[in-house]
Symmetry: C2
Subunit: 203 residues, 2 copies
């Protein structure tokens, strides 16, 4: 009956079944949406009975919160790595595109990031504010690379609107890209770079 209130002792080992709940919630929230997913759905997908997820989470909202934070952390880490790899502007940009698309479309992280992108509005106000702050920090990296690209003459516009157009083009792929289709994520990143950059294409 007791609960691991904030940090369970020896969280690494203890968080094993908890993460099963998060993964199940992530997949279902992406497939059916937050509001249309029931606790019973999540419990069953995690191999539990309907009351058991509440051992790990206080509310359903908390499950959404955990999913969204996981998505945000993963995409931030992946893109930050490429931004700081010390490559020239165009290569840095394309690597960041690839990393973002990989996170958003790849088997591994697509559930978390799709939920982040499409279900955040169902968060409670305080959790939403936290997520928005983290998202702003993430998007600042894109503003930074746009600035670099403009200095290099590779792009004409590094405004806030330009950043949002770019992120929109990327994030919208979650609604149409199909894994196993004719287009790999790498080629998609290359194609978006060519679509956006003002430079002779590199096929």
């Amino acid at each position: 009956m007791k609960r691991p209130v904030d940090l369970p002792p020896s969280a690494a080992a203890a968080g094993n079944r908890r993460s099963a709940v998060v993964r199940a919630a992530g997949r279902l929230f992406r497939e059916k949406g937050y509001a249309a997913t029931t606790i019973r759905d999540i419990a069953q997908a995690a191999g539990m009975r309907s009351g058991s997820p509440f051992y790990h989470f206080r509310t359903k909202h908390d499950m959404l919160h955990a999913v969204v934070l996981e998505g945000l952390a993963a995409v931030h880490a992946a893109v930050a790595l490429e931004l700081n790899a010390g490559r020239p502007p165009r290569q840095t940009f394309e690597a960041m595109l690839r990393a973002h698309l990989q996170q958003v479309l790849g088997e591994e992280g697509r559930d978390f990031s799709a939920v982040l992108l499409h279900e955040s509005r169902h968060l409670e106000p305080s959790a939403l504010a936290e997520v928005i702050a983290l998202k702003d920090a993430y998007e600042a990296m894109w503003q930074k690379v746009l600035k670099i690209l403009k200095r290099a003459g590779l792009v004409a516009d590094d405004s806030k609107a330009a950043r949002l157009f770019l992120l929109g083009a990327m994030n919208w792929t979650t609604l149409w890209y199909r894994t196993g289709g004719p287009l790999s994520v790498e080629r998609l990143a290359r194609q978006l770079a060519n679509f956006v950059l003002r430079e002779p294409d590199k096929p």
Copy 2:
């Protein structure tokens, strides 16, 4: 107790309160999402009691269907008008951008189009198939203008992916654009055109 099954006699006058239900549903579906909106919410917003909307619609799904079709018809008509206005490529393109963004962001049609963009997955399979067919026809107009732009050397890529990048950039605005902010819809359209086209900017 009887219902106007398919076509109510003298539909023009009779469909008055019905359209109040559609407008209320559109606004609530956009604000809270389809699954999180209750019949009671819709009825109250339309000034009715909770059972009354079912005089006009068989199910809640049918209400979503009506909202989505309204959004699709409006944006299709607005953009088709500009595509066929007989202007030169760049002007045609920018006018289409403006028309789409006007529909998606403007007071008048944003409820319907935002629901179309973000809630279509909650449609029943048969209704979804119908909507997808109409959406494909809509997007074909964008493929067409991209082809024209490429012939004119204004864009480097007129592939299917390029079209989806463009639509993504536009449709994502529904998640960040705020009416009354510093950026008008007209300027937004101009800025997106400059972001995408390979030509000296026209400020």
